[in-house]
Amino acid sequence: MSEEFTVEKVMDLKGLPCPMPVVKVSKGIKEVEVGQVIEAHSTDPGSLTDFPAWARTSGNEILKTEEDGDVIKFFIKRTA
């Protein structure tokens, strides 16, 4: 995806197991405006399926997912 965006906020969710990553990210995304993007770092392998499921249900959009060693980086646009 070559879409350009600016990250408004970075959330460190490393070391947190289920359900904390989605609970925190759902709170954190409400702290930015609709249309803005946050970057969330998780080390919970379950996040790879959980974040997209969370985004679909809550109506937000995952623009990009990157894996950097054990760290999974999600770029999420607040659309709801």
Partner: protein, 203 residues
């Protein structure tokens, strides 16, 4: 649900009966459909999860709170009903009340007093298993039951306690935890909530 769909289909097919395709007819059909959709909207359920927490086991109560907090994250409303063995989990370990009869005192002594005293449903091994699980949870950063309860309160998870279980086991309202919005209820309240929920769980 099938009957609702059928009703809706009938309404649509009825309104299509051999009427000439004039602007007026189309408008009439549209109005009918709109009112029909309004009725369906009212009948549809909210994005809500209703849970019965029947178990008083550490593992099952923990799972209940994981689902509860996760549901709020997903944008859903959550209502938890604590009944039977789940009831003592919500007792406050620092509160004690007098005026109980012998049976009430006995139940009070034998059942866990609050989140800190609940045991695993399996591998408890006289408390050793539970202690090991708790230390493992801490090591792996898994939220404790106390933290889960705190988080649930922060996320506006609604908690109801079964009045009948309280009465049966001799628990008094004054010995329950301070939880914002904690209420006492009977089966009708659960059924009302469950009826309006998309997800209903019995744990």
């Amino acid at each position: 649900m099938t009957s609702i769909v059928q009703e809706a289909k009938e309404t649509v097919s009825n309104s299509e009966e051999k009427e000439p395709l004039t602007m007026e007819n189309v408008e009439k059909q549209l109005a009918e459909l709109k009112s029909r959709i309004e009725v369906l909207d009212k009948k549809s359920t909210d994005p809500k999860v209703s849970m019965i927490v029947f178990s008083g086991d550490l593992d099952k109560v923990l799972a209940s709170f994981v689902i509860a907090t996760g549901s709020v994250a997903m944008g859903m409303e959550v209502v938890m009903f604590f009944t039977f063995w789940g009831t003592p989990v919500l007792r406050d370990k620092n509160k004690s009340v007098g005026g109980k009869d012998t049976m009430g005192k006995m139940f009070g002594k034998m059942l866990p007093k609050g989140t800190g005293a609940v045991k695993l449903s399996q591998m408890n091994m006289g408390g050793m298993g539970t202690a090991m699980m708790k230390s493992l949870m801490k090591k792996k950063n898994v939220a404790s039951l106390e933290q889960m309860l705190e988080m649930a309160e922060e996320l506006d998870v609604k908690i109801y306690v079964c009045e009948m279980s309280m009465d049966l086991m001799g628990f008094k309202r004054e010995e329950m935890i301070d939880y914002n919005g904690l209420e006492f209820c009977g089966v009708a309240k659960f059924l009302e909530e469950a009826n309006n929920s998309r997800i209903q769980l019995f744990i």
